[in-house]
Symmetry: C2
Subunit: 523 residues, 2 copies
C-alpha cells in the first residue's frame, strides 16, 4: 500500500472522506496526485486520542523523549532519496536546497533531543521550607515545566521540511512531552505523509503511544478551524500568512477555553543602509541584497522586503545585480497568484518607480525578480506600502536624511528582523535607530542579510505583531519549547511524588534555582 | 489639596470628568466619598504619555529600576497609619490584616528589586560566532529579555494592597522596565490614590519619567474597555472574576494588534481528603478547613470551595468548626450580593444539603459561614456545582470510593490550587490523583490548606483556564516578571551597542547561557 498523501491518525493510515485536492508540481505546472481532506470527525478522533495519550506522555522520562526525537531524525534520514524527490516534485525546490533543509530539520530535532536529555530547560526551581520563619513557617515549594497537552501544528509551505509537519513546531511540542496533531500543508501532502511514516516508525520503536503524532491532510479552512476549535487542543503552532495566522488566533480566542496560538506571520524585514556604508561599501551591499532577495525565490519569512537608505545609487545598483540573478519558481499557484496581484497593485501606484522586473511574463509561477523604489515621504503616508509581498521583490525607500530614516524605522511596526549596515558604532544616529528597532523587532542584525535563521538557544524568530502573535516567543531555536509547557508548583510534596526534576537528589543532574540561586547540587 | 480618590495621570493629579461613584464602608454600610471616573480621553492621555516614556525606561539600568522599586516600597511605608486607616474604612478588613498585607506588598516590591538588581532574570543567552563552520559560518547571536511596552493593570478588590494598583502585577511590570497604567478598583479609590502618591514621590526622587505610573479611577466597564483597547498598551494584568477577566481577554483578542491578558480569575481549589487521613486526622483537618474557609471572609482566590472525600463525619465536623468561627464582613456590596444570590441558587438545588450557615440574616455584607454537601453522583452530573461562590462557603462532595474521588478530580478543570491530605505516599491511588491534578492545577499542596500564597521564585499562582488565562504564567512570585517582557536577539552586534546583559565583559555579573551552558564568566 502506498501511503503517499494519506492521513495518519492515531496509528492508522487513513484515506479520509473529505473533499479532494491535488498535489501540484510548480515546475511542470501540473497535478501530481489527488488527495483526500480530513473531516471534523477525523479531528475528533485524532484529538481525543491525543488527549488520552497525554497521561502516558507525562510519565515519560526526559531520556525517553530524547530517544524518540533522535529516532525520528534517524528515520527521516532513512527515507533517503524518496523524501528529496517527493519534496522536489511537490515544491519545485532544487535538490541541494532540500538536502540542506533535511539536514537542518534533523539537526533541529536532535538539538531538541539534546535539550531534553540535558533537562535544564525544565526551569526547575526549589524554595526550601523554613519551619521556624516568623510570623509564619515557610512551606517547601518547587516548580518546573510540564507538558501543556495536545498541540496542533500547521505546517508551512515555504520550508516543507524545516517548518513542515515534522518541522520546528512539532519538534518543540514533542520535546516538551506533548502529543501533536499536525495539519500538513496542502502544497506537499506526499512529503507530509513520508514524514508521518518516519515518525510512526520511531513511535513504534520507542514504545510511545500511537497518538503521540497524527497527520491530518486537507485544503480549505474548515479542517484547520475544527482543529483549533477542539477543546482537547491546548496550544497551536503556525507558520504562514498574516491572514491565516490571525484567523486561527481569532478562532482560538473565541473558544470556551481560549488557548494560545503561536503564529509566525508576515514581515517586511527592513534593511537600513547608513551613510557610511553607502560611502564605503555600496556595491557589496547591493550584491548582497540582490542575493538575499532571491533566496528561495523570495519565499523566506525573513526575505528583505524593504531597504531604507539615503538617496543614492544603492537602488539602481541593487536592481542591476537583481536582474542578473536567475529566475526562480514559486512554491504553488496560490502564492504565485497572490504575489502577482500584489505587484500589480504596487505598480498601479504612480509614486512607486519600478527599477527591474515587474509582472510575471508567462505564468505567475515564474515571477520576475523585482525592485521598486519610493520616496520616504510617500512611504510614510501610504500604509499599503507596509504590506509584505511574498516573493523575490523588494522596495527601496529613499530618504532625505538620517532623521527621516529614523522616522521610517518608527513607522514600521512588528518585524521578524531588521538589519543595519554601518561601521559607525559610536554614532548617536545608529544608537537611536537600534533603540527604535529593538522595540519592534525579534532579531536585529548588523552588516548582514536577514535570510538564514540559525538554530541555536539565542535565536529569536518572532517579534511583535504582525510578525508573530507573541513578542516573547520564538519558533526557531531551542527556546521554542517554552511555548508548549505549563508550569506547576508543588507545596510540601513528598520527595517520591515529585517530578524527577524537583527531587532532592537531583537525579537529572540539572541546573536548578534553589532559594533563588542557580546550582546543580542536591538539596 | 487632598488627593484622595483623585486620578494621577502623567504626573498630574486629576479630577476627571466621567461619572461619579461612591467609595463605601462595608462595616458601617455607608458611603465615604464621591469619586469621579476617568474617561476615554484620560486613557488617551495616560497611554500616549506611557508610550512616550518607554524609550527613556528602556535605557534605564537594572540598578536604576531596582532603586525605583525600593524607593516605592519605602514611600508606601512612609504613608504610615493613613494608608491602614483608609484601607480599613474602604474594605472593612481589620487592622492586623492590612498591616500584614502592607508588609507583603512592600516585601514583594523589594523582592522584584532584588531580582532586577541581580539581573539573571533577563535570561541572557549568547551563542558565539564560528567563522570557520562548514558549510556556512555561524554568526554571533545573543538574546535577552527587554521591556514589552506600557502595561495596563487592573487592581483587585480582595487584596487592596498586595493585588491593588501597586500590587504584584504593577511591581512585576515596573520591574521589567515598563510604564504602568493602573485602573484602581472602585471599591477603594482613596487607598489607590495613596499608593499613587507614594509612587509619584518615588518616581520624582529617582528621576524616572512622570508617565512611569498613572492611576485611573473609575467604575463600570467603559474605562477598562478603553484602556485594553488602546493600541499603546502591550499587555494586561488582571485579578478578579472569571466574567471580568474573560471580557478583557475578548477585548484584547479583537484589537487590530492583539495583546496578551494575564488574568487570574476564579477557582474552587478542591481539597481531597484520602481515606487514611480520615482515619487518622479527621478532626484536625475539619478544624483546618474551617479556618481556611473563613480566612478573609472567604474572599481569597485560593479559598477552599470544594472538599472531596469519602462518606464520613468530615462534612459534619467541618460544619461544627465552621459554625464556631466569627462572622466576617464582605468587601463591598457587589461581591456580597453576588455571594448571596449564589447561595440562594445552590440552596434551591434539592440535592444539596445545607450543614451550617445559609443566606445572610441582616445584610449580604455580613454573610453566614456556610457548608453544604452533595453526593459525588450529583456533583458529576451538575456543572452548576463547579461554579465558584466567592465568600466563606464551601461544598463537600461525598464519594463512595477512591475511584469516584478520581472521577471528581478529572471532572474539575482549571484550578489555582488543589490539595491532597494523606500520608500514603506510596499508594497508587494517590499517585494517579496527583497525576490528574498536576495536569489541571497551578499549585498542588500536600497536607495543608490553599489559603496563603508564598511570594518566592517557585510559586505558581495561576493554572489552566478558567483559573487563569495562561497555564504557564504566574501572578505571584518573581516569575511573574516573565509576563511583561519581550525577547530580542542581536546578530553580529558590536559590543558597545549590546544591552549590558549581553556584553562580552558581563558587566552585570549575571548567569548567562553561553553556547548552551550556564556560566557567569566573560566571553
Amino acid at each position: 500500500m502506498s501511503i503517499q498523501g494519506q492521513s495518519y491518525i492515531n496509528g492508522q493510515w487513513v484515506v479520509p472522506t473529505g473533499g479532494k485536492f491535488s498535489s501540484w508540481n510548480p515546475v511542470t505546472d501540473s497535478a501530481i496526485a489527488e488527495v483526500s481532506s480530513c473531516t471534523r470527525e477525523d479531528v475528533e478522533t485524532a484529538a481525543n486520542a491525543a488527549a488520552a495519550a497525554m497521561p502516558v506522555l507525562r510519565a515519560k522520562s526526559t531520556d525517553d523523549i530524547a530517544k524518540l526525537l533522535n529516532t525520528i531524525a534517524d528515520e527521516i534520514e532513512a527515507l533517503g532519496s524518496e523524501l528529496i524527490e517527493t519534496g522536489m516534485a511537490e515544491t519545485g525546490l532544487p535538490e541541494a536546497r532540500l538536502i540542506g533543509e533535511r539536514g537542518r530539520t534533523c539537526g533541529q530535532i536532535r538539538a531538541f533531543a539534546n535539550l531534553v536529555a540535558d533537562g535544564s530547560y525544565l526551569q526547575a526551581s526549589i524554595d526550601l521550607a523554613q519551619p521556624d520563619r516568623q510570623p509564619l513557617p515557610k512551606p517547601d515549594i518547587r516548580a518546573c515545566f510540564q507538558p501543556l497537552g495536545p498541540i496542533a501544528v500547521f505546517g508551512a509551505s515555504n520550508f516543507p521540511f524545516a517548518f513542515g509537519c515534522l518541522g520546528g513546531d512539532t519538534a518543540a511540542a514533542l520535546a516538551a512531552g506533548n502529543a501533536v496533531i499536525a495539519k500538513g500543508h496542502p502544497s506537499h501532502p506526499q512529503t507530509s505523509s513520508l514524514f508521518a511514516k518516519a515518525t510512526a516508525t520511531a513511535i513504534e520503536k520507542c514504545d510511545f503511544p500511537t497518538a503521540t503524532f497524527s497527520l491530518l491532510q486537507g485544503s480549505g479552512h474548515e479542517l484547520g478551524t475544527a482543529l483549533v476549535e477542539h477543546e482537547a487542543i491546548k496550544a497551536v503552532g503556525f507558520t504562514g500568512s498574516l491572514g491565516g495566522g490571525r484567523a486561527l488566533m481569532d478562532i482560538a480566542a473565541k473558544r470556551a477555553t481560549p488557548i494560545p496560538v503561536y503564529a509566525e506571520m508576515g514581515s517586511v524585514n527592513p534593511v537600513f543602509v547608513m551613510p557610511d556604508a553607502l560611502d564605503n561599501n555600496l556595491d557589496d551591499i547591493a550584491a548582497g541584497l540582490a542575493g538575499s532577495i532571491v533566496m528561495g525565490t523570495g519565499q523566506f519569512c525573513t526575505s528583505p522586503g524593504l531597504v531604507v537608505t539615503l538617496k543614492s545609487e544603492l537602488a539602481e545598483k541593487t536592481a542591476a545585480h537583481l536582474s542578473e540573478q536567475p529566475q526562480g519558481v514559486m512554491l504553488n499557484p496560490g502564492i504565485a497568484s497572490a504575489l502577482n496581484s500584489g505587484i500589480q497593485e504596487r505598480l498601479g501606484n504612480s509614486k512607486v518607480e519600478l527599477l527591474t522586473g515587474g509582472l510575471a511574463k508567462e505564468t505567475p509561477l515564474k515571477p520576475c525578480n523585482s525592485l521598486m523604489k519610493v520616496s520616504a515621504e510617500t512611504f510614510l503616508s501610504d500604509d499599503e506600502l507596509l504590506e509584505e509581498l511574498f516573493g523575490p521583490v523588494s522596495l527601496v525607500v529613499e530618504c532625505d536624511s538620517v532623521t527621516q530614516m529614523q522616522a521610517v524605522a518608527k513607522h514600521i511596526q512588528g518585524n521578524l528582523t531588521a538589519t543595519i549596515h554601518t561601521q559607525a558604532f559610536d554614532d548617536d544616529a545608529v544608537k537611536s535607530l537600534l533603540a527604535a528597532l529593538s522595540a519592534t523587532t525579534g532579531r536585529v542584525l548588523f552588516n548582514g542579510y536577514p535570510t538564514g535563521v540559525e538554530v541555536c538557544p539565542s535565536m529569536v524568530h518572532g517579534g511583535p505583531y504582525p510578525a508573530s502573535s507573541s513578542a516573547t516567543a520564538t519558533s526557531v531555536g531551542t527556546a521554542a519549547i517554552n511555548r508548549f509547557v505549563s508550569r506547576v508548583a508543588y507545596q510540601n510534596c513528598p520527595d517520591n511524588l515529585l517530578p524527577a526534576a524537583l527531587q532532592n537528589a537531583n537525579p537529572l543532574g540539572i541546573w536548578r534555582l534553589v532559594d533563588g540561586e542557580f546550582s546543580q547540587t542536591t538539596v
